[in-house]
Symmetry: D2
């Protein structure tokens, strides 16, 4: 009955089985093993594109390494103010880029708009040595508000990026949820719309600790191997990252997990929608709900043992609810029932 | 028949079992789980000392984070020229410390001597703004030469460190092998001899990806939580680091693994010693052998499918052999037989 | 007839004379000369406080070094969005702090309010490893809007800083203009109101290239000597920085220069105020004017050879005018006359 | 009677005059002034090569900025162990490069040999992600031992650099002394021999605070403008850097100064050579002498008020003597006389 975050989950049984299978015997370290080679090939299939792949253990590392490959120390990364890279990584992008700046571009429902990027760059002093130079845009898919960028929205951002010579990074910590929610292919949501690099998340959606940095523009990846090692992000027994990722992709487990997770979120939203005093901040398009409940309901839920975050900010009644691959319908229904009971 | 490195091993069955057990159900993320608490307590017992513990996935991260807590950007870390931090981490200490300098202090058999540290510091310009300021000494135990610092050697270094106000870090990627080889307690080899921080390695000795940074001086650990997060080294599903470490410590699995590994190294050394033209560069005290073989023997071994590194350097006949927790006596014997057969 | 910036000025004759006088003969380098000692003593008198003084050649260096001494790499510096450190130094604070973050706190007329700092810190996740940690507040005096923080405003900020354990830095690139404009002592405007470190600017107000970092809390200055050297900011012939500063302080030249400069700004403001279509964005309290003029007037002024910046932003009719120690009343009057003539 | 360093000198009268002349009136800041343009053109003439020029106030900044443009954070700069960048800049190269490593290559008399660079690179693990990647070689001319690289020595190093794709940087803090000592053109000693970037020093040889970073390969200079600003090394009143440099180059003042300085060094060497117990460590080819004197002579000289450094190291009788543009023959002769008198 934990709706706090999808990172409170364990590891999906199929991924556990892959770890167990990989544990026996010897393999060459640092990515020179056969599972890693297979994962690289499989990701190229999934994305219908040749790509350079780097596996790491955390999403923060994936994002920060990707950005370090895209912007110089005197560069700026344009992102949403609520972007995970901007608020929840204790300055990891600044660390990995050797001090680049994150420039926040506001937008409703967790999204930034292509036009606002254009305006920002127009005033950023491009070419002037007094100002940090916009070097990349980073968007989150699904967003931190639980919404999903539509393909045309990404494409519009991609176009602005090309216009200004900016790289486009996508933080896909919940990319599976976005693919399912948008009902579009991984390719449509990424390189076809102008994305250069994707942090392809697996941890929140069933893996133990595994993320892939996927470069669709391989020329941008030249420094990544060195940067990953230098950051202490290269596992010596690399096959254990690869084994997780292989199982995650196998038989589209990642999409099945995300589909379940999104369905649970929709079920939760539907159930809450009918309760008096309940108001959603954003559309529920993936597996996160940002919703305001009556204080009585919140306290009742907390007493009943439901775990969730009151979202930091002025409004103490705004909460975040997150579903996951292992969320059960009965727990969702119990949450709804508890909320309804206590709301009145 | 892989003697290339202990990082070509898989994961010990008991540690795999712990991962499997941890995979079910929910737990609070980022180290706020019960296994992590137990591991912290257990490490305090193992080391007979209150300590601040930080788990990470790689040894490079453990070393670099520890050093970043010990020296300022204008500081210097004194270490052996062959130290892993100096040669094999692609500059991770420089990255994490924001540009501190590694100052190499030569010494035979992978060790640096207390007196040489003293001499170095005496000429380093302490207090002069023109020079980077010695801030820490880092020693490796077991060393990169497969030898072991004796307790009195460490204590002498610890004393010099206190004399000059330097912190003492120990890279214990193979700490288990050192404990077994020295036949001394973990406490004797660390804080009792003046060590402030230990990178306590588990990966090479049976874990999948798990290392503990152990601060015996907790006041030096204040920044570590932030630095670990910022470096993308904090696993969200932290219990999977903790579960590995718990199983590694349980019933002294780590010592049993190291004992086996060291015994295999001794068996290998004994067998090779009798072969004409074989010469050891260093005493074999842990699980690594640096040994020169006749070229004919080397080529024969390679043809027979044995895997090992010809050690980088001028002498192409110097090789490194590494044993591990899963090395089998029959493979050791086969190696010896092959070497003997081809040597003549 | 250049109103673009006070950094288009040359060097005041008295400061030139000091450079000439210092040019003869030998002196010990790196600050070990007698002029430097005298300057340190003189600044202690001017500020009525024991202080640690570090001279550098640029304001950007002064700010960035000061901040690097105040916040760790995982820290945040709270400042106005328009702060010079945030917009005009190409990321120097991020560089010098090894990747700390600047957190912008909006406020009218170039000022941030104590209450807004309090609110920001309340939501910043102090103590949580996910978030950069507020470590310092930096305010600019006179502000980038040409206004001046009143003593009570600074004191309120100082109090909030102490409440939250934040250091308080003041970017005093135009500190002289602020002292004159506020008609308060240097001490009142700094340490008595809670300022820990001041970037005491001389360059814009008559020097060639000289700024002093003045630590009122000397314990915060311990790393500064090393950081300055490491940054390549320690002049070998340091006496030439010191000679400028000595002449700048001698006979209160700095206050005389600022008084003249402010008077010219007031004269300019008074003259423009009467012209139809002229609107001031901010009160004119120091030596900068942000003022909107009719487009016809602007084009006329430009044709007449007056140099000024149309201020970057949406409004192309908003300009900045800056007066300086060498601005002449006749040029001010000519500007006013030209504006009036072209406005109608 | 100061032989401690050429940075104890003041400023040459002609350079002072240029500063005085530049002090009047207004000029656009940050290098957009006419003197700066003239200096850039003049340096192109002096070096007989199109070049990108960046003026800064200190030699440390010149070196560190140049290196930051040449190597990535995971790169290595190969240099002499005694190189100023390695020993006397408190880690400035590491700071500016975001943590690159300096790899020391030993060599007699302050020089590194092309063959030793070749050997080092051969063992450095080029292309392997475990190791920092050699990115540049930095040599000092005149060397820290007071010797001069011959053109063929530089060319041999240049060739090795091209072979391995390394950039070649020259720290020319005493470049004038080298040009005079070698009796070769600036072009011969730099780009014609394969040098990509030169730190062209003026401060030690007559300027107040002025150095030029001269890129012969302009494609390597693209980031430099941003890096210089970000480092707080861009003077707002940039004309004062340019004015110094213009006067330094005018009528070959720099060569005249260096010629005098070298001549004084030769006179000093000649005089000391005849004294019993005097032994030179290196050939005297520029304006520095490393020489061992009898202890009695040293104490006598100190009592007589001569200022010089006993060189840090084991041998307390080894001293460094430095002559400069303003060293007078009578002082040289007095030194010799004092040494002779006290030696016996």
């Amino acid at each position: 009955m934990n709706f706090a975050s999808d990172n409170t989950t364990g590891t999906h049984p199929k991924i556990v089985a892959a770890i167990v299978a990989a544990a026996d015997g010897r393999a060459m370290p640092y990515g020179n093993d056969s599972i890693t080679k297979r994962v690289e090939a499989r990701l190229a299939e999934v994305f219908e594109h040749d790509c350079a792949v780097f596996l790491v253990g955390t999403g923060t590392a994936a994002n920060a390494l990707a950005l370090a490959a895209l912007v110089p120390p005197y560069g700026a990364v344009l992102c949403h103010p609520e972007g995970h890279i901007n608020t929840d990584e204790c300055g990891a992008p600044e660390f990995y880029t050797a001090g680049a700046k994150l420039a926040a571009i506001a937008g409703t429902h967790g999204k930034i708009a292509a036009g606002d990027i254009d305006s920002h760059v127009g005033l950023a002093g491009v070419g002037s040595i007094h100002h940090v130079q916009p070097g990349a845009v980073s968007i989150t898919q699904a967003t931190e508000a639980g919404t999903i960028y539509r393909v045309d929205e990404i494409a519009a951002i991609g176009e602005i990026c090309r216009k200004h010579g900016l790289a486009l990074h996508m933080d896909g910590a919940r990319f599976g949820n976005a693919v399912v929610g948008a009902n579009r292919t991984p390719a449509d949501l990424t390189w076809r719309a102008g994305v250069d690099v994707l942090s392809f998340g697996a941890t929140k959606n069933g893996a133990m600790a595994a993320e892939a940095i996927v470069f669709f523009d391989k020329t941008k990846a030249e420094s990544l191997g060195f940067r990953r090692k230098r950051a202490g992000q290269l596992w010596s027994k690399h096959r254990f990252l690869a084994a997780q990722m292989e199982a995650y992709l196998d038989d589209d487990l990642w999409l099945a997990n995300a589909r379940h997770s999104n369905a649970m979120a929709a079920r939760l939203a539907d159930g809450l929608r009918g309760i008096a005093g309940v108001a959603f901040r954003d559309a529920v398009e993936a597996n996160e709900l940002f919703v305001r409940l009556p204080e009585k309901a919140l306290q009742g839920l907390e007493r009943d043992g439901f775990v969730f975050y009151r979202w930091p900010g002025a409004d103490r009644q705004l909460i975040r609810l997150v579903t996951a691959y292992d969320t059960q319908a009965k727990d969702v229904d119990a949450f709804i029932a508890s909320a309804r009971r206590h709301a009145t």
